[in-house]
């Protein structure tokens, strides 16, 4: 950095951003070392919301853990459910009826749209455009949460999926409402884009901020939109296809400028791809059973499995060790945002304090999942 020689003595200062700070999306602290307004060093401090979910998971039976997964990333409870039940299904080799697979895909893709809309709304909040864009995002989210309520009885903590299927079949009236929501989504995304994509303030604040080169993204184990905005074409739905994703025609969205703005673009693109998947799922969904009968006392065989899915925030994985009993012997959550935060100090160095807020917003953290 170029310094003007004035003869004045200068020194760096260390300040706390958080734990109670409007931009941290929860209780999250960053110890920032500053040279004037420029970041010299940054250290994330977390754990304020730590509940030791992994220990709780060992105490619970397999079934009791499903509602706990809702409380990881409380914006995407459906995809957390899916990652966990699929891990247990892999462990116990349970087949899932076809209709249940379609219902799961519909729920998870709706969750992806909700998550990305909220993430973009929160990013704009962080940039100082307080709550107007967020309200546009929440408007569409309300209709989707209504659908979740119809299916599961709950708007956010859905607790909907079970080993070998889902808890209830879709109620009457769900499909017509879903069709109308899906039909309205493209217009919603267009409106979002019209307001934001070429917005001068968004461009000025987001372009060339928080640049993450592809090799660094891979080295630091980044996942999800963060990785794809750095030009790495890696989506678990394509590379290690699970459930019935191989039946749908959709593209992996990547961008090449690796900055905050590209992460925004990737999220917009992924919302459009999710709409494509939803349209196809609506056409293909068959009639039939939605769950399989399992013994009342559920004991998977001994062994260990790791299962990962492409959750809206990145790779969500569960590593389960079973000793043949009713409870997991080890229940590990590979949380995407906790690991994405590893790269935060490298992204922020050399930027201004106000940019830290934008960079953190573009990583899209939820503290329930970071701290577990």
């Amino acid at each position: 950095m170029q310094r003007v020689e004035t003869g004045l003595r200068t020194e760096t200062i260390t300040v706390n951003m958080g734990p109670q700070h409007p931009s941290t999306h929860g209780v999250f602290r960053m110890i920032v070392t500053l040279d004037g307004e420029t970041i010299v060093d940054l250290e994330p401090v977390m754990g304020y919301l730590h509940r030791c979910q992994e220990k709780i998971g060992e105490r619970n039976t397999y079934l009791q853990n499903i509602p706990y997964t809702d409380r990881l990333d409380y914006i995407c409870s459906m995809s957390n459910n899916m990652a966990y039940v699929m891990a247990v299904e892999k462990l116990a080799q349970i087949e899932v009826p076809e209709r249940a697979e379609y219902i799961r895909i519909i729920m998870v893709e709706l969750t992806r749209i909700v998550n990305h809309a909220v993430a973009i709304g929160a990013l704009l909040n962080d940039l100082g455009c307080f709550f107007t864009p967020m309200l546009y995002a929440l408007e569409e989210r309300e209709r989707i949460l209504d659908l979740f309520e119809m299916a599961s009885g709950s708007r956010m903590m859905c607790n909907y999926m079970r080993f070998g299927g889902v808890r209830y079949d879709l109620p009457p009236g769900f499909m017509p409402e879903l069709k109308s929501v899906v039909a309205a989504l493209p217009a919603f995304i267009d409106e979002f884009e019209r307001l934001l994509t070429e917005n001068e303030i968004v461009l000025a604040r987001c372009q060339n901020v928080g640049v993450l080169p592809p090799d660094m993204a891979i080295a630091y184990s980044c996942t999800g939109p963060l990785l794809r905005a750095s030009g790495v074409n890696y989506d678990i739905r394509k590379v290690d296809s699970y459930s019935i994703y191989d039946r749908f025609d959709f593209d992996v969205v990547t961008e090449t400028n690796c900055d905050v703005y590209d992460r925004y673009l990737v999220r917009i693109g992924e919302m459009r791809q999710s709409v494509r998947i939803l349209e196809q799922a609506l056409e293909q969904i068959p009639e039939g059973e939605v769950s399989v009968k399992l013994p009342r006392v559920f004991k998977p065989p001994e062994g260990d499995v790791y299962h990962r899915i492409e959750s809206p925030k990145g790779e969500l994985g569960f590593y389960l060790v079973s000793d043949g009993g009713t409870n997991p012997y080890r229940y590990k959550i590979r949380s995407p945002t906790f690991i994405n935060l590893t790269v935060l100090p490298e992204l922020c160095k050399g930027h201004k304090v106000a940019d830290v807020v934008a960079i953190l917003g573009s990583i899209d953290i939820v503290l329930g999942e970071v701290d577990r």
């Binding site: 977390m46 754990g47 030791c52 992994e54 891979i218 184990s221 012997y329 590979r334 790269v343």
Partner: protein, 155 residues
Amino acid sequence: MSREIYERLVEALPEASFEYLEEKDPAISVKTDDLFEVARYLKEDQGFDYLSAVTGVDYPDRFEVVYHLYSMKKGTRPLTLKVSASKEEPEVPSVTPIWPGANFQEREVYDLMGIRFVGHPDLKRILLWEGYKGHPLRKDFPLEGYQAIGQEEPS
């Protein structure tokens, strides 16, 4: 795929010893002393450039650290590596110099499971606070903790 990698490992690093575990997810078991060399070989010669997850498991007779690796270029399925550590003084070489993404995960395993990662640049607690007593994910940790709430030493 794991089988192939295992055969290549045996060929490339003759002085190290490996074991192939045929399970639901096939895994390769490595000796603690060889881990660093094996990790470097896997990254540089076999293209496993991405470390996804680091997990500690407390078995009755040993601690185990499990690594899940992918290759971004080849888009392969996960490769599982396992190393064991002793119950008395669990120590495992850190792979953070090879995959920087291991940094927070190794700190988490140290924090909750009490396994020391030798060579880690800044090994300290991450989710719990400095001064907390014990490692909660160990099987012998009492559910109510070693200290009453409010009596912990301040950080």
